[in-house]
């Protein structure tokens, strides 16, 4: 409760929270608010020469190259992209945190093995994994989410590993051991909270990159398949039209940016609020 109240006291956090809320609500309410069926290729959605329609008039944000209403596609696309940006990216950060912490805490043989495994994963081409999975499995949103999680945890793990090694050296961890705390308790209650700032940075910057990554992977065939929209694939499908039909790139690009930024504002505020050492500081 106090957390919420502190959150409300910061204008930037409030703004971020509002944007996040609006995006989530619009995504959930897409069928109610979308003016058109997102997949319908409308006859009057293309000019006679087959060019997409610019924003305005019947189509508020214009149409895409198949004559579909961009606004409706973006509303439905929010569902896909939020799942990728939040769930897939969240899982990646979670795995990264887990492996990084455990490797950094355990050191010794197990820690070394975990870290070399991370190195191996880093050296391994993610694209290839995606392609093989695409060929072997029925494509779905959840598979692309899984691949993103599988690929993106590596960097987080590396950074977390470094930080954890620093934390383990700190005296309060030894103090905790002297009280008889088990490994689980130390990891969860005394190391994890200190990694929240890192998690927030990676979690929020990661939203934007994973939403775009989803489009690349879908393009390779493992993600959502056409015509299901996502912010990433709306951009991807029509990025070469950015001169002829700039709205096709601009609007989805802006929502990705805005969403990531909003989560970041909330995240930054939360970090400051959750960190007692930041209390009362500028």
């Amino acid at each position: 409760m106090t957390v919420l109240r502190s959150l409300f006291r910061q204008p930037s956090a409030l703004f971020g929270l509002a944007v996040v809320l609006v995006v989530v609500v619009l995504a959930l309410a897409a069928p109610l608010v979308a003016p058109f069926n997102p997949d319908e290729q409308m006859f009057d959605g293309l000019t006679l020469e087959g060019a997409p329609m610019p924003p305005g008039g019947q189509f508020l944000l214009g149409t895409d190259t198949l004559g579909r209403d961009l606004l409706s596609r973006m509303l439905y696309g929010a569902r896909t992209s939020l799942i990728i940006g939040l769930v897939a990216n969240g899982i990646a950060v979670a795995i990264g945190l887990f492996i990084g912490i455990v490797a950094g805490y355990l050191r010794g043989f197990m820690g070394n093995v975990l870290m070399r495994f991370t190195d191996l994963m880093m050296a391994f081409p993610a694209l290839l994994l995606a392609i093989v999975l695409a060929a072997l499995m029925k494509p779905s949103l959840w598979i692309v989410a899984m691949v993103i999680a599988l690929v993106n945890w590596v960097q987080v793990a590396r950074i977390v590993y470094t930080e954890t090694r620093g934390l383990v050296e700190r005296d309060f961890i030894m103090a905790e051991r002297s009280l008889g705390a088990g490994h689980g308790r130390i990891l969860l209650l005394h190391i994890l909270p200190h990694l929240i700032p890192t998690a927030i940075v990676w979690g929020t910057l990661g939203i934007a990159t994973t939403v775009l990554l989803e489009a690349t992977l879908s393009f390779l065939g493992i993600g959502v398949q056409p015509p299901q929209p996502s912010w990433g694939n709306i951009i991807f499908e029509s990025q070469s039209y950015f001169q002829a039909a700039p709205w096709l790139v601009f609007f989805p690009g802006m929502v990705i940016l805005l969403t990531a930024l909003a989560f970041n504002l909330v995240g930054d505020a939360l970090r400051d609020i959750l960190d007692p050492t930041q209390r009362g500081r500028g």
Binding site: S178, G180, A181, L189, D275
Partner: protein
């Protein structure tokens, strides 16, 4: 008494200076209308309790107050004819380092870890003197502070030097531009007595050589007595008393000053008694102490970094603790004393199984060698540690209440509300109000943090506490209170202490037995009386001789 009265115009004068701090609850005055003068060639000591504004004063003079939270609201600081508070940052730059230099409270962290000593010295010299050959000047300065092998030091990095060497480098750096004023903020707190004595000696010499005036901030009245020409006593942001040191020590006017002086433990004050002085009314009879040792250590050795690689065997480094043995009986305090780096903390950690060791350690008769974290748990209930740095040993993200309840939760003692009561009781016991439970470590002063750590260690009602430098960072008044609390607990609960300190006076006050460590070995051990009244080893004697005596007249006699 050959003291000369200060003559001429002051080099530095502070007039009616006030500083406000921005806090969540609004502005708070931390310096209130303080005035003092510093005359050429004089040493002015500022003493006072923790949080009284000593550091803020020195930072104000340097123009280094953190802008975001602290602000000079009124008053003047004059260096010669120049008014400093109104100078721009770039004008102030030329004063800093050039005319006023400063040595900070933390010698360990005040040197840049990634630059070598030479570069850091040269940089300061070049900035203010434009001397033709700054490298040569740097070498001269290192020679002046009597560092061993000065030419080699230029190429070394801070972490390769001991604490004492680092402090010498800091002094060389501060003096390299021949400043008119040197501000030294607790320059020796972190150092052991022998090194402290050398540093103080050095500063005295340099003052004469370079004609520098010194402002020295310290909470150690012994140091004040040894160094000061004049003394300023501060309390809660105000100056309560100032005057020549002989007068202040000899005839303190203010009650606070008298309390400060009374709280100082004096070496040899307890000569002729066997144990620490009694502080409580209800005491356990000595018979209840029991006869079996609570801690039995035989042939304990610790080697850092000894783990060998999978393929390539490394040569094992020399042992940090090398084959030491001792016993502690219930209700007994063993003092462990020795120079910095002699292995005291390492010993303390090893006997609680916190670091790998060889040899045998028995707690209440059972061997703890090679036990896993899980198997150690029963022993944790009977043996606890108070770490050298209380701030570092508290999780900054955990409230104090939770921190104190932590051992209870870990060992599954009581339910939530019972634990809450117990925490309140423990906090009261160590002299904190129960509302402390909801606050976080950084919101407490050093002494309070130390008491929190003590409360946490007591929560499990252990039989043995390893207290590592538990009072070194505290000013005298707080230190006395903490020591009394520990004695009281020993008397009422039959606690045994392994009491680690480099301060001989504190050891004398607390111990039944004393072990003197050097280079990882115990060089001398015996009852407190043996050690303090008939020290056999030269090293022990040297340790005792180096303790400053809080009486300005005593020093001047010798």
């Amino acid at each position: 008494m050959t003291e000369t009265k200060p003559t001429g115009a002051p080099v530095l004068s502070v007039e009616r200076l006030s500083v406000d701090a921005r806090t969540p609850e609004g502005l708070k005055r931390v310096l209130d209308d303080i005035s003092f003068d510093l005359y050429p060639g004089e040493t002015l000591c500022i003493a006072g309790e923790s949080g009284s504004g000593k550091s803020v004063t020195s930072l104000s003079i340097m123009g280094l107050l953190p802008k975001a939270s602290l602000k000079v609201t009124s008053g003047k600081i004059r260096l010669g004819e120049r008014e400093l508070t109104t100078l721009s940052n770039s004008q102030m730059r030329h004063i800093r380092g050039g005319e006023i230099a400063m040595i900070f409270q933390e010698p360990m962290t005040s040197l840049n870890p990634v630059m070598n000593i030479g570069a850091q010295l040269v940089e300061a010299i070049r900035e203010h003197q434009g001397s033709a050959n700054p490298e040569a000047t740097a070498l001269e300065m290192l020679e002046a502070v009597q560092i061993s092998d000065p030419a080699r030091r230029l190429k070394q990095f801070p972490h390769e030097l001991s604490g004492g060497m680092r402090q010498r480098v800091m002094i060389a750096m501060a003096l390299s531009c021949r400043p008119k004023v040197l501000i030294a903020d607790e320059p020796t707190t972190a150092l052991d007595v022998t090194v402290q004595a050398q540093i103080l000696e050095l500063m005295r010499k340099l003052k004469a050589e370079f004609g520098t005036s010194i402002i020295m901030i310290t909470h150690d009245m012994g140091v004040v007595a040894e160094m000061a020409d004049r003394v300023v006593i501060m309390q809660q942001g105000r100056i309560v008393e100032q005057g020549p040191s002989v007068e202040v020590f000899g005839h303190p006017r203010e009650l606070y000053t008298r309390q400060l002086l009374a709280a100082v433990p004096r070496l040899g004050a307890l000569a002729g008694t066997d144990g620490p002085p009694r502080v409580s009314k209800s005491a356990i009879a000595p018979a209840q102490r029991g006869t079996a040792p609570v801690l039995h250590v035989t042939d304990l050795s610790v080697t850092y970094g000894g783990a060998s690689g999978l393929i390539f065997k490394r040569k094992a480094p020399p042992a940090t603790v090398d084959g030491i043995s001792f016993d502690i009986m219930p209700g007994e305090t063993m003092g462990l004393v020795g120079e910095s780096g002699s292995g005291k903390s390492t010993t303390g950690k090893a006997v609680l199984g916190l670091i790998p060791f060889s040899g045998s350690v028995q707690i209440e008769g059972r061997d703890i060698a090679g036990l896993s974290q899980h198997d150690m748990r029963p022993f944790r209930r009977s043996a606890q540690m108070i770490f050298q740095d209380p701030y570092a040993s508290l999780d900054p993200r955990m409230s104090v209440g939770k921190a104190v309840a932590e051992p209870l939760v870990i060992h599954g003692i009581g339910n939530a509300s019972e634990r809450q009561d117990r925490v309140a009781e423990l906090l009261r016991r160590v002299g904190l109000t129960p509302d402390a439970a909801t606050r976080y470590p950084h919101e407490f002063s050093g002494g309070q943090r130390q008491r929190i750590c003590i409360a946490r260690a007591l929560a499990l009602e252990p039989k043995l506490i390893v207290a590592d430098e538990s009072v070194a960072a505290l000013d005298v008044s707080v230190r006395a209170r903490v020591l009394d609390l520990m004695l009281e607990l020993q008397e009422t609960m039959g606690l045994a202490y392994l009491f680690i300190s480099h301060d001989m006076a504190v050891i004398e006050r607390m111990s039944h037995k004393v072990a003197v460590m050097r280079g990882g070995r115990i060089v001398e051990t015996g009852t407190r009386r043996d050690i303090f009244e008939n020290p056999r080893e030269d090293y022990t004697q040297a340790l005792m001789a180096a303790v400053p005596i809080p009486d300005p007249t005593v020093y001047r006699k010798c």
